[in-house]
Assembly symmetry: C2
Homo-oligomer: 167 residues x 2
Amino acid sequence: MQFEEAKNKFVQTWGALGSQWGINKTMAQIHALLMVSSESVSMEDIMQQLQISRGNASMNLRSLMDWGIVYKANKPGERKEFFIAEKDLDELATKIAKERSKREIKPALKVLKEVSVIEADGSKAAEHFIQQTQKLYDFVAKADEMIDRVTTYKDNWLGKLMMKILK
Amino acid sequence: MQFEEAKNKFVQTWGALGSQWGINKTMAQIHALLMVSSESVSMEDIMQQLQISRGNASMNLRSLMDWGIVYKANKPGERKEFFIAEKDLDELATKIAKERSKREIKPALKVLKEVSVIEADGSKAAEHFIQQTQKLYDFVAKADEMIDRVTTYKDNWLGKLMMKILK
DNA sequence: TAAAACTTTCAATTATTTTTGAAAGTTTAG
DNA sequence: CTAAACTTTCAAAAATAATTGAAAGTTTTA
């Protein structure tokens, strides 16, 4: 396999993986492309390499920047904007985890809390509902806290956590 | 908030959360409904409560069973099938993690390995590509192994892991 | 073994999400 | 100031994913 072929395969695979996790395919592809580019990349280049429209490129780059995993990088002397990806994988995982927590887990927890505090009406069904949603709340809250704890230190947290688990 | 209202809100929220993580909304809703039901539920009931077609219910129940998080439960004397969800949350998380690893992470790792072993052609771009995809492979492999390790013991693994991290 | 009681399948339809592209907006250079 | 170079926005179009419903399939009952 040659470099160009390998790069293309990587970008396609990353895009497909993104889709399966609820991330727009193009967004994941742009991210993949930037991840493996040693130099910063212009919007033109992204459009050309992924064969996508300007609007599409613009919007998905915006999203990636909102996630905090892609940055603008101005090249001296150049008018147009260039982009680079966060390449440190601990940092990348941390940012993704924090964003997903903020956008999805925290709001879900809020709802879980709300629905788990209804008055029991004596029925078995309501009783079970309260029990189960409370358990779910505790579980999700604990998982969320764990992710936060583990990624806050961030300095090679995955490796360190691995060490702890091995013991 | 009354029981019925709370239940509905929970089902809706779980469905929306599923969508954001690449899981079909109805599938997540059926799962939510079964999670908070104290008794096993028939297909009729699911169709009626979620206002969905028979085909939809059938296909998504099949998927949930393929994931190993919903089971058939025959009621004595009843002809039709009833369904129950895996309610143990450690077990649920374990099954989901294992399935996603098998279906998505493992194949992605395979591709990462493939593309990271191309011959360097001396260019900076190819050099960087190889470096970065190798790092990515290591990172993802480590994360995947960690999930496996942690969920294999499964007996309250989240709580135990939490303990380790606190120290 | 026939028909009733169910479940599954899948082509067609509908809903949702993504993408396009051109107009509007912004910044820089001269 | 104003034209060129570039980016953003967003309504419409295209692509993708989910859903329906009826026919086909299966199992149970009598």
